[in-house]
C-alpha cells in the first residue's frame, strides 16, 4: 500500500543498494540564469555534456528588468549573467525561452503553462520554489548548483527517501479566504520547519475544489514549511488544464498518459508518518507580521504580544521581528499602514490571481501615499490580462503594469523597497531585507494586497465593497 509520493519515487529508481541513497531519474530539468553559470562551468572543466538537453528547459526571470527590458540593461552585471545563460544554452543545445518570447516568464509559471510539467514526473530546478509543480501530482523539488551540474551530466540525482506527511483540509473555504490564506495558515500551524524531512500530500475537499492556480499557490509555499516537496493527486481538473498545452502528449499518447495519470493517487490504506487536519471553516485572510512566513495572524486580529511566545527563544525572535518590522506587540493588524504593494511572484501572479485582484480594485484608485505594481508571471498571462480588460482596471487605479519576471519578490533587479518602506506583498518570503535592505514585507493574498493598496492600510477583504 503506497502513498502517491512512494509511487512516483519507485517509478524513478535507476539504481538502489542498501546504505546508499537511491539514484533517481529526472524527467524534467528547469533552469534559469542565477543558479546555473557555475554548473555549466563545472561541466566544461570536466569536459562533460548535458546528457538530455531535450529534457532541459530554460527561461530568464530572476535578474531581468520588468520595464524596457529589451533595451541594454542598466545593471551590467545582471546583463552579463543573462548573456551567460544564452551562451550556455546555445553551446549545450538547450531550449531557451528568451525575453522576446511570449512564453517567457517566472520559471515556475512558465513550466506548467507550457505543459512541460505533468503528473507522475520527477522535476528539479535550482530554485526552492520548484515545489510549485507538485500541484500536478509531480515530485518536484529545489536543488543547489552542484546538483544542477549532476543532473546536467547524468539526468539523475542521488536522493534519500523522505517521510510522508498528510495535510487534510476538509470543508468549504469561507468567502474571501484564498489558497494563499490556506497555506499561510498551514505554515502558521506546523511551523517553518514543521515539515523538514517530509514530503507533504495535501488532500481533502478544499484542495479538490481549488483551481490548478490555487493548487500551485499552495504547493509553492510547501518549502516555507521546510518540506522537500508538496503534492496534490492529479484529477480531471489537472487533465483539463493540461490538455492541448504545447508540450503535452497528443492523440493516442494523450490517452495513454491520462490512463497512467489516473493511477497516481495514494492507496486507501497507505500509512503516513504524520497527519495534520485543519477545518476550512476556521480559516480567514492571513497577514504575516514578522520576518518568517510562520509569523502570521488573521487580518481581524492583533499581532501577538510578547507573552504569547512559547519560550525564551521564541520571545527573542518576536522582539527582533517587532524591531525590524517597526511594530508594537499586540498592535491591531488593520491599523498597519503600507507604503507599497506588490502583486506578483511564482506564488500569486497567474491569471486567476490577477482576476481576484481586479475584482477588488475595480472602480477604485490606489491610496495617494501608496505606490503599487502588478507583475504578471509570464508574458502570456500579461497578454491574457490585457485581453480580459484586467490591465485597464489596474492602470486606471494607478498600478504600474509590468513585464513578466520575479521582480520585487526577491528584488534582484531595480524593483526594490527602500529602507523602512512597508509593503503588502503576494510573494512568499518576508525575511529581513528580502525585498530590499531595511524593507518590511507583509505576505498576503492578491485580494488582500489590492485592498491594502486602495485603503492605505490592511483591511479585511471579507468586508470589502465591491463595484461590480
Amino acid at each position: 500500500m503506497k502513498t502517491l509520493y512512494d509511487k512516483i519515487w519507485d517509478a524513478h529508481i535507476v539504481h538502489e543498494e542498501t546504505g546508499k541513497p537511491a539514484l533517481l531519474y529526472v524527467d524534467l530539468h528547469l533552469i534559469h540564469e542565477v543558479t546555473t553559470p557555475q554548473a555549466f562551468a563545472g561541466l566544461r572543466l570536466a569536459n562533460r555534456k548535458v546528457r538530455r538537453p531535450d529534457l532541459t528547459f530554460a527561461t530568464l526571470d530572476h535578474a531581468i528588468p520588468t520595464i524596457d527590458r529589451n533595451l541594454p540593461f542598466n545593471d551590467k552585471i545582471a546583463e552579463k549573467q543573462v548573456e551567460a545563460l544564452r551562451k550556455n544554452c546555445e553551446e549545450f543545445g538547450i531550449k531557451l525561452f528568451d525575453l522576446d518570447r511570449i512564453e517567457q516568464g517566472i520559471i515556475h509559471v512558465f513550466g506548467p503553462e507550457q505543459g512541460l510539467v505533468q503528473p507522475g514526473q520527477t522535476i528539479v530546478c535550482g530554485d526552492s520554489h520548484t515545489s510549485t509543480h507538485g500541484a500536478f501530482g509531480a515530485l518536484a523539488f529545489g536543488i543547489g548548483t552542484s546538483e544542477v551540474e549532476h543532473v546536467f551530466a547524468t539526468q539523475t540525482l542521488p536522493q534519500s527517501r523522505s517521510k510522508n506527511m498528510l495535510i487534510k483540509v476538509e470543508g468549504e473555504l469561507p468567502f474571501g479566504v484564498t489558497a494563499k490564506d490556506v497555506i499561510l495558515a498551514i505554515i502558521n500551524e506546523i511551523g517553518t520547519d514543521g515539515a523538514t524531512g517530509y514530503v507533504i500530500e495535501y488532500a481533502g475537499a478544499v484542495f479538490e475544489n481549488l483551481s490548478m492556480e490555487g493548487r500551485m499557490t499552495v504547493c509553492n509555499m510547501s518549502i516555507e514549511a521546510g518540506a522537500r516537496a508538496g503534492l496534490i493527486a492529479p484529477d480531471e481538473k489537472t487533465f483539463e488544464y493540461l490538455k492541448d498545452k504545447p508540450f503535452v502528449p497528443k492523440g493516442k499518447n494523450w490517452e495513454k498518459a491520462v490512463e497512467y495519470w489516473q493511477t497516481l493517487k495514494t492507496d486507501d490504506d497507505a500509512k503516513f508518518d504524520k497527519v495534520v487536519e485543519i477545518e476550512a471553516e476556521t480559516l480567514a485572510p492571513f497577514v504575516t507580521w514578522g520576518t518568517s512566513p510562520g509569523m502570521s495572524v488573521k487580518v481581524s486580529e492583533n499581532v501577538p504580544d510578547l507573552t504569547d511566545a512559547k519560550n525564551e527563544t521564541e520571545r527573542k525572535s518576536f522582539e527582533r521581528a517587532f524591531e525590524y518590522m517597526a511594530l508594537n506587540p499586540a498592535q491591531k493588524v488593520e491599523e498597519i499602514e503600507i507604503d507599497r504593494a506588490f502583486i506578483g511572484s511564482c506564488t500569486n501572479s497567474r491569471i486567476e490571481d490577477l482576476r481576484e485582484a481586479a475584482k477588488v480594485i475595480k472602480g477604485y484608485k490606489i491610496n495617494e501615499k501608496v505606490s503599487a505594481m502588478i507583475v504578471p508571471g509570464s508574458m502570456q498571462i500579461k497578454k491574457q490580462a490585457e485581453e480580459e480588460g484586467l490591465a485597464q482596471i489596474f492602470v486606471d487605479a494607478g498600478f504600474e503594469w509590468r513585464d513578466a519576471g520575479c521582480s520585487m519578490c526577491l528584488a534582484m533587479n531595480e524593483d526594490i523597497l527602500q529602507s523602512g518602506e512597508r509593503c503588502a506583498s503576494t510573494s512568499n518570503r518576508n525575511f529581513e531585507g528580502r525585498q530590499g535592505r531595511g524593507g518590511r514585507t507583509h505576505l498576503v493574498s492578491p485580494s488582500m494586497a489590492a485592498a491594502a493598496a486602495i485603503a492605505g492600510h490592511f483591511v479585511d477583504v471579507r468586508n470589502w465593497k465591491f463595484n461590480d
Partner: protein, 204 residues
C-alpha cells in the same frame, strides 16, 4: 570537492533560529557567474551598515571571533532559497563546520557538496556550547568525522550522526558525478525501457 576528516577550530556563536539564506548572502551578490569570492558578502546586511562600514557589535566582527571556523547557530539554519552561494560564502569566509539543532534540507545537501560539515546536535547541547563560546576566551571545538565525535578541551564530548554514505563521500572528497557515471548502463537502460510518451518533452 574538499575532503573533511577532522577539524579543530575557534567557535563563534550566532544563536538565532531560522537564519535564512537571504541573510547568509543577500541577493545582490548572486549575479556573479564565478564560484569563488563570496566570503566578503557573508551576512552582509548584518556585518555592514548602509555605508559599507563594519558594525562593531555584530558577533562576527568582534576581534575575539576573527578567524572562527565553526559556526554555532539556531534551529532551521539555511532555510529559504536554494542558493548554493550560501555555503560558498561560508566556506570562502573560512568556515568548515556549522552546528545547529536542525538544518533546512537543501542547504544541508549543498554544504556537503561544498565540503562544509553540517553537524546536528540537541538544542540543550548547543545552548551550553553557546554559553561556553561566549564566556571562554578562544573556545575551540574539535570535530572528528571518522569517529563522529565532537569535543572540547574542557571535558565536553558527544557523538553526532550523519548518513554513512555522505560521511564516506566527505571523508574521501568524492565527486559524486563521477560515482553516478559508474551506473551509466543502468541510466541508459532506464531510458530505453520507458514508454515513448514518457520521454515526453516533445508534445507529440
Amino acid at each position: 570537492m574538499n575532503n573533511f576528516i577532522k577539524h579543530k577550530g575557534l567557535v563563534v556563536p550566532l544563536y538565532r533560529a531560522n537564519i535564512d539564506t537571504d541573510q547568509i548572502i543577500p541577493k545582490q551578490f548572486l549575479k556573479s557567474i564565478e564560484r569563488t569570492g563570496f566570503g566578503q558578502f557573508l551576512f552582509y546586511d548584518w556585518r555592514f551598515d548602509e555605508n559599507g562600514v563594519e558594525k562593531t557589535d555584530f558577533v562576527l566582527n568582534q576581534p575575539r571571533y576573527k578567524n572562527a571556523s565553526i559556526l554555532l547557530t539556531g534551529k532551521n539554519f539555511g532555510c529559504g532559497s536554494s542558493r548554493e552561494h550560501a555555503p560558498w560564502s561560508l566556506e570562502d569566509f573560512g568556515f568548515r563546520v556549522v552546528i545547529a539543532s536542525a538544518f533546512a534540507d537543501i542547504f544541508y545537501n549543498n554544504c556537503l557538496k561544498v565540503g562544509i560539515l553540517p553537524v546536528v546536535l540537541d538544542e540543550e547541547v548547543i545552548a551550553e556550547s553557546v554559553r561556553k563560546a561566549e564566556t571562554v576566551e578562544d573556545y575551540q571545538l574539535t570535530i572528528d568525522l571518522e569517529n563522529c565525535k565532537i569535543f572540547d578541551e574542557h571535558g565536553f564530548e558527544t557523538a553526532f550522526s550523519i548518513d554513512d554514505f555522505r560521511r564516506y563521500c566527505l571523508l574521501n572528497g568524492l565527486d559524486d558525478i563521477g560515482l553516478t557515471l559508474q551506473y551509466e548502463t543502468e541510466i541508459a537502460d532506464f531510458e530505453n525501457t520507458r514508454p515513448g510518451w514518457k520521454n515526453f518533452a516533445r508534445g507529440t
